[in-house]
């Protein structure tokens, strides 16, 4: 079996001491930063991106993947213990998880979150290994027109899954596309919208914008509310980490359902983990014999969403590794990291860099295992970290981010640009625009333009090529259908319902 040979090869790579260490450091540091309230996964990955630059490519990507799961796990720890979800994916975890913590069952809640994530991670790892090769073959059948249509579909997914107004979400994507145009044109080399600033000739750095819009903007926004945010920290000592037999029996089906749902939603380009956790929560609530328990500390409400978001987080590597298309903002950062190491994500990566791909896949499983082993005993430390007052934390984060951005290119201008994008991000938040679609648009921009140009060049300027090629036509039809469904008022109100679930 080629599959198992590949996986075995991956494990050999991942189990080398240096890579194990990278994975461990990544998971630890990711959790450490992810636990800080108000810092979501995207901000964590963006902040920690520079620390992987000095490493060899395989080690760097393994570490980044570790940071990603660590951040996600850290996010759920904060939502359970403090009721401050670091990001959208752990919003639903906070609903029942925090209630459990207030009832003195923080231990089981954290344990179930870890166990559910681990199980989902195992399934997703196998799924990536199984689906990777066939999807790569499919990718080879993709021409520029298909790629373009697929990206349109991905962006439409991002719109559908974004919160609030559809119009605003589309506008954010187009804004991102526009920002990605800054810099040199790929074909002619003409300098576009760079205003003769040499640092802009290479385009806006992706990490710079991400750090500004997610890191700095979040800090400024949190300061609005006053540095002492109302923190509902569970003060009593966490005892009895292990869930009871009843907990396990209750949560097993939820974990299974969450894993399946998350795996499917993660593969789809657009938003993956967030919708998976919301979807899973809604599903559990619908299926429960006694739905009124939800919101009062139902363990299924923690188990389902946590498994779903971890499964989705991992399967979202599939489109990245096979098609080279990042399905969400975190994967977009991964693309940035790969590019810095000189790797162009896409179908050829699987064949040319088996060490990298399979090593990363194997390390995902190891990373999840590490998280479950490390984090449960370390919960006490994370809790202590949560007691650090925000008035000390926010300047530290600012400085850390500033040093991080500076170290990417040793360019002071990048730091200023990140600051400017921090203000832009603050403005966007104030006007209820979501920054995540902007980031996705920015990453997909150059790819989209390139494929659009190529497709039209091949078809000699005939736009009908996008609907004449069957695969491309199907993708565009799905995108159009999705958009129509989203705009229809009846469905819109339902969609809002899914997202407002957390607020009551």
């Amino acid at each position: 079996m080629e599959l198992f040979a590949n996986l075995a090869h991956g494990f050999v790579v991942a189990f080398s001491p240096i890579n194990l260490l990278m994975c461990l450091i990544g998971a630890l540091v990711g959790t450490l930063v992810g636990v800080l309230p108000g810092i979501g996964t995207i901000a964590t990955v963006a902040m920690l991106l520079p620390i992987t630059f000095g490493l060899p490519p395989v080690g760097a990507l393994i570490m980044l993947a570790g940071i990603y799961y660590g951040a996600q796990y850290g996010g759920s720890t904060t939502s359970i213990l403090v009721n401050i979800p670091g990001e959208a994916t752990s919003v639903v975890t906070a609903i029942d998880g925090h209630q459990m913590a207030r009832q003195g069952r923080a231990g089981p809640a954290l344990a179930i979150a870890a166990i559910g994530s681990f199980f989902a991670g195992c399934v997703a790892t196998v799924l990536i290994a199984v689906l990777g090769a066939p999807l790569t073959k499919l990718a080879l059948a993709f021409g520029p027109a298909e790629y373009f249509s697929l990206m349109v579909l991905g962006l439409i997914f991002a719109v559908v899954l974004a919160k609030g107004s559809v119009l605003k979400a589309i506008a954010m994507i187009v804004f991102g596309l526009l920002l990605s145009m800054v810099g040199s044109d790929i074909e002619t080399g003409a300098s576009r919208m760079a205003f003769n600033i040499p640092e802009l000739a290479d385009g806006l750095g992706f990490a710079t914008v991400a750090m500004g819009v997610f890191g700095f903007a979040e800090i400024i926004r949190n300061l609005d509310a006053g540095a002492e945010m109302s923190r509902d920290l569970v003060q009593q000592k966490i005892t009895g980490l292990m869930p009871t037999r009843k907990d396990l029996v209750d949560s097993t089906p939820a974990i299974l359902r969450g894993t399946v749902l998350g795996s499917i939603l993660g593969i789809l380009p657009g938003g993956g983990a967030t919708i998976a956790s919301f979807g899973s929560y809604t599903l559990e609530k619908k299926l429960a014999r006694n739905p009124s328990r939800f919101g009062r500390g139902a363990i299924e409400g923690v188990a389902g969403p946590e498994s779903a978001n971890n499964a989705a987080a991992q399967t979202s590597f599939i489109p990245l590794l096979t098609l080279g298309i990042p399905p969400n903002a975190v994967m977009a950062l991964m693309v940035g990291a790969m590019t810095i190491h000189g790797i162009v994500p896409g179908p050829q990566v699987m064949q040319k860099q088996p060490d990298l791909v399979w090593g990363m896949i194997a390390s995902m499983w190891i990373g999840n295992l590490m998280l479950i082993i490390i984090n449960l005993p370390l919960v006490g430390i994370w809790v202590r970290l949560l007691r650090v007052p925000y008035r000390l934390m926010f300047p530290s984060i600012v400085i850390f981010c500033a040093i991080g951005i500076y170290s990417v290119n040793n360019a002071p201008v990048d730091v200023i640009l990140a600051g400017v994008f921090g203000l832009v991000g603050y403005w966007l938040i104030k006007h209820d625009f979501e920054p995540a679609p902007l980031l996705l648009g920015m990453v997909l921009g150059p790819l989209m333009e390139e494929n659009l140009r190529r497709a039209l060049l091949i078809s000699r300027g005939d736009w009908s090529v996008f609907v004449m090629r069957p695969l491309s036509a199907v993708l565009l039809a799905v995108a159009a259908g999705l958009l129509v469904l989203t705009v229809l008022p009846a469905l819109r109100s339902k969609r809002d319902e899914v997202f407002t679930e957390s607020e009551n």
Binding site: L223, P395, D432, L456
Partner: protein, 253 residues
């Protein structure tokens, strides 16, 4: 009575919003003016402030209307970039600002958000106006930026319209302290990292940023700032192997 009072309240606010848009319409020109002040002291190369004022004023008041009339009479002369800025960016925004006077804004959050986004898109259209467009059926460097810019103008107009047609939240409250000091810290870091090195810059930026909250206790902040700077000074250059200046240049030499 209540009706008239309500009306006057929206009227005053509309005036403010409209004046804000007028300011936005000439924001790039003002920015260039501020930038050009530096040339008096010999920083940077560019036109002096007086040259900037004269060129933009003539473009706004004479050049652009002239170009419009010229275009109407079929005269396709090449226009300068100042005139283009006035035509593509400033004039549409002035029109929006004038229209704002007569509108009832039902959701200021959406309306202002949409108009500002439109300004960004128009500015991008101007910035990309010197790029080559389509050559036969092949894309030029400027085709895609123009496409996305045009799309964003349409979408943001849609958002602004939603703000006029449907009820929604008013403008959110902005605070000044947090953004000001955090940005000042970042700016100081960017300007000082090369000449002063990580140790000095990191600590001072930390203290500037810390001023962004009223609850900062200075002694405590100084201790944490010193520890953090020390930590970063070890972490980045030594552990992670990312080279950066550590100490002020005049001390290192």
């Amino acid at each position: 009575m209540a009706d008239t009072m309500g009306h006057s309240a929206t009227a005053t606010r509309n005036t403010k919003v409209a004046l804000g848009f007028c300011l936005l319409a000439i924001a790039p020109q003002i920015f260039e003016l501020i930038w050009s002040i530096g040339t008096i002291f010999g920083w940077g190369t560019g036109r002096g402030p007086s040259a900037v004022v004269i060129s933009h004023a003539t473009a706004l008041l004479a050049g652009a209307p002239g170009a419009l009339i010229g275009a109407a009479s079929g005269d396709t002369k090449k226009v300068s970039s100042e005139v283009l800025l006035a035509l593509i960016y400033s004039y549409p925004l002035f029109v929006v600002a004038i229209l704002t006077f007569f509108m009832t804004i039902r959701s200021a959050q959406d309306y202002v958000g949409g108009v500002v986004l439109m300004a960004v898109a128009l500015f991008a259209l101007w910035a990309g106006s010197d790029l080559q467009g389509m050559r036969g059926f092949s894309f030029g460097a400027g085709t895609a930026p123009r496409m996305f810019g045009g799309l964003l103008v349409a979408l943001s107009a849609g958002i602004a319209l939603t703000g006029l047609l449907t009820d929604g939240p008013p403008m959110a409250h902005y605070s000044w302290r947090g953004p000001l000091f955090v940005m000042a810290g970042i700016l100081f870091f960017a300007l000082a990292i090369r000449p002063l090195g990580l140790v000095v810059t990191g600590f001072i930026s930390f203290m500037i940023a810390a001023a962004g909250s009223q609850e900062t206790r200075w002694l405590e902040a100084a201790i944490v700032g010193a520890c953090l700077t020390l930590g970063c000074a070890i972490l980045f250059p030594y552990v992670l192997g990312l080279p950066m200046p550590m100490f002020p240049r005049f001390l290192a030499q």
